[in-house]
């Protein structure tokens, strides 16, 4: 790909044999990048406000198929922004061999834009028999942990760029597992060479719906492995908080972000807004609030 201006963050060294490569929050001259999830209805606003957006996170599946305008749109974005692909189809938790054709298509996309990392979710989205198409929680057993780590290893052998996995929202839990969510998450991070995309709103949403303390959860997570943070806002559906990515970030999530940033320094923080788009000034004000919190935590 010629003519593309690469704006790569410095890649972090990865853990070997379970040793954490990065210790507790360390002074780092590199400021935390503040970005936005790319959505097509926001395309023109994004281009018109380029100076206020450090990077774009794109949904890989929207650019992985042979529809001409998609490829050119992605390359055009990559010439103007640091672009980080965020997938939903790796399904690292599925207890069957990784879909190598999907990984090959993802690898091709990643090769085009050369991001500092790519991300997906700690979940499953399909099994050979059925396609759930959405992020589904894992039954957190030792066997599932082995499956996830094996799948991550396979993916990393096929795509050399660092893989970062996100914690998901879920509205029901699967009883009789071996590990709590935090235990499972930390074990994955320890055993595999992937870092964490900490979705703070997902932690908050789950804490509401499943009645646990979000702060205690965050205190227990291996925050030293947080590469990127997601922020978003959801909607209430009766007594459940749904992770719709269609509202401003709730006050409690801002508080949790401050707590996380007091304990670690990720490389990037991005806002997700998928629908019911407000005036773009509202989105920009959310990004600005992220920057203020980053600055207040002396990470700016």
């Amino acid at each position: 790909m010629t003519g593309t201006r690469l704006r790569c963050l410095q890649p972090r060294e990865h853990a070997v044999d379970g040793e954490s490569a990065v210790g507790p929050c360390q002074p780092n001259a590199t400021a935390i990048k503040v970005g936005l999830g790319y959505r097509r209805p926001l395309h023109n606003d994004i281009l018109n406000n380029k100076a206020q957006i450090d990077f774009l996170e794109v949904i890989s599946e929207q650019f992985m198929h042979s529809v001409d305008d998609e490829a050119s749109r992605l390359l055009s974005l990559a010439e103007k922004f640091l672009v980080i692909p965020h997938s939903v189809g790796l399904s690292v938790g599925t207890a069957s061999p990784i879909d190598r054709s999907y990984v090959a298509r993802l690898a091709k996309l990643i090769e085009k834009i050369n991001p500092p990392w790519h991300s997906d979710h700690l979940c499953l989205t399909h099994v050979p028999e059925a396609d759930v198409e959405q992020l589904t929680p894992l039954w957190r057993t030792w066997e599932a942990l082995d499956v996830v780590c094996d799948n991550i290893s396979t993916i990393q052998s096929l795509i050399p760029h660092p893989l970062v996995l996100e914690n998901i929202t879920y509205y029901f839990d699967l009883p009789a597992g071996d590990l709590t969510e935090v235990e499972f998450l930390n074990a994955v991070l320890q055993r595999s060479r992937c870092d964490l995309l900490l979705d703070v709103n997902n932690v908050y949403t789950n804490s509401i719906n499943l009645d646990f303390n979000a702060m205690s959860f965050l205190e227990s997570v291996s925050l030293d492995r947080v590469k990127q943070i997601h922020l978003a806002g959801g909607e209430w559906d009766g007594a459940l908080l749904i992770d719709t990515h269609s509202r401003s970030v709730p006050d409690r999530v801002w508080e949790l972000l401050q707590f996380v940033l007091s304990r670690c320094k990720p490389e990037a923080i991005s806002l997700e807004w998928d629908s019911d788009f407000p005036p773009f000034s509202t989105i920009l004000s959310q990004l600005e609030r992220i920057r203020r919190i980053v600055s207040d935590c002396n990470h700016g």
Binding site: R40, P41, E61, M64, H65, S66, V67, D68, D69, E70, S72, G89, G93, T94, A95, S96, D99, S101, Y102, L124, H126, V127, P128, E129, A130, D131, V132, E133, Q134, T136, W139, T141, E143, A144, V147, Y170, Y171, F172, D173, L174, P175, A176, G177, D237, L240, I242
Partner: protein
């Protein structure tokens, strides 16, 4: 003990309404073929049923929205019926993994659902099948790498006839003003000739009908003035001469549309007698025969 069996049961519970009902009624029978361990069965049986139902419904609504985003004309008709479509769609078929784009797969699945008659009781307009067939065919072309040449042709033709507000006449039946979803339309616009003017939002006098089993696009003329224009493209005069000399009752962009088709070599197909089950052609028989050049 098989984790994959566990995950398969969980996935089916989430996306297969019939299986989910069976699991809730009698989980042992539903899971029998999967040979789950006692611990696996205990875990699945212990899932909060109300939460499971809510999660499944959210998944389903998400899938319908994903499909409708890929089917802009169908979306105009069906969007207000989503709540009523959800239940029959959940029972239509179990979604299977595939290599194609999720929007494409879900869009095709949703088209097949509507065309199967499974939504007959929902109350959609009676011409919905014509619209669904058109969307389905266009979806196939847009996402089919092997048919890229046809996709380009289809995009050019579609651009010629669709604008911000499009009047589509389903032959002999209804007139519906539809709005193209801008994202979908943008995907088509990038393939068209740069010098083709974007039509103003005024009603058109042509309808684009696609046969469900072929990539061919048929243009059915429903206005005598436009028909008269088209008949002037007999190869004896230049396109510009024809357009400049025409003083019929067509709206401006219809003239340009026809002229562009002629320039692009996308000839207009003569309206053919309808074959059995061919709804798109049924009303052509009532129209005067078109003096059109044939073939794509």
């Amino acid at each position: 003990m098989s984790l994959l069996a566990f995950q398969s049961v969980l996935s089916r519970i989430l996306v297969d309404a019939n299986f989910r009902d069976q699991f809730i009624r009698c989980p042992q029978v539903a899971c029998e073929e999967y040979r789950l361990s006692a611990t696996e069965f205990k875990s699945l049986s212990g899932i909060d049923k109300a939460r499971l139902a809510l999660h499944s419904r959210n998944l389903l609504i998400g899938r319908i929205h994903l499909a409708l985003n890929a089917l802009p004309l169908t979306r105009e008709l069906a969007e207000t019926y989503i709540a009523r479509l959800a239940e029959p769609y959940a029972r239509f078929a179990v979604p299977r993994p595939g290599a194609a784009a999720p929007a494409y797969r879900e869009g095709l699945r949703f088209c097949d659902f509507l065309l199967s008659g499974a939504a007959a009781d929902v109350g959609l307009p009676e011409f919905v099948n014509d619209i669904v067939r058109f969307d389905r065919s266009t979806l196939l072309l847009v996402y089919s790498a092997s048919a890229l040449r046809d996709a380009q042709a289809a995009a050019q033709v579609t651009e010629a006839f669709c604008c911000d507000s499009t009047t589509v006449l389903v032959p002999g039946r209804h007139v519906v003003t539809l709005q193209f979803v801008s994202d979908f339309r943008e995907a088509l616009i990038t393939r068209t000739s740069a010098d083709f003017p974007v039509p103003r939002p005024v009603p058109l006098n042509l309808v684009l009908m696609r046969r469900p089993d072929t990539p061919d696009v048929r243009i059915v003329v429903i206005n005598d003035s436009v028909l008269e224009l088209i008949n002037r493209f007999d190869g004896t005069r230049s396109c510009r001469d024809v357009v400049s000399s025409f003083s019929g009752g067509c709206v401006n962009h219809a003239i340009h549309a026809v002229a562009k088709l002629y320039e692009l070599g996308l000839f207009l197909r003569r309206a053919e007698p309808a074959s059995k089950g061919d709804d798109a052609g049924a009303d052509c028989r009532s129209r005067p025969p078109c003096n059109l050049r044939g073939g794509w």
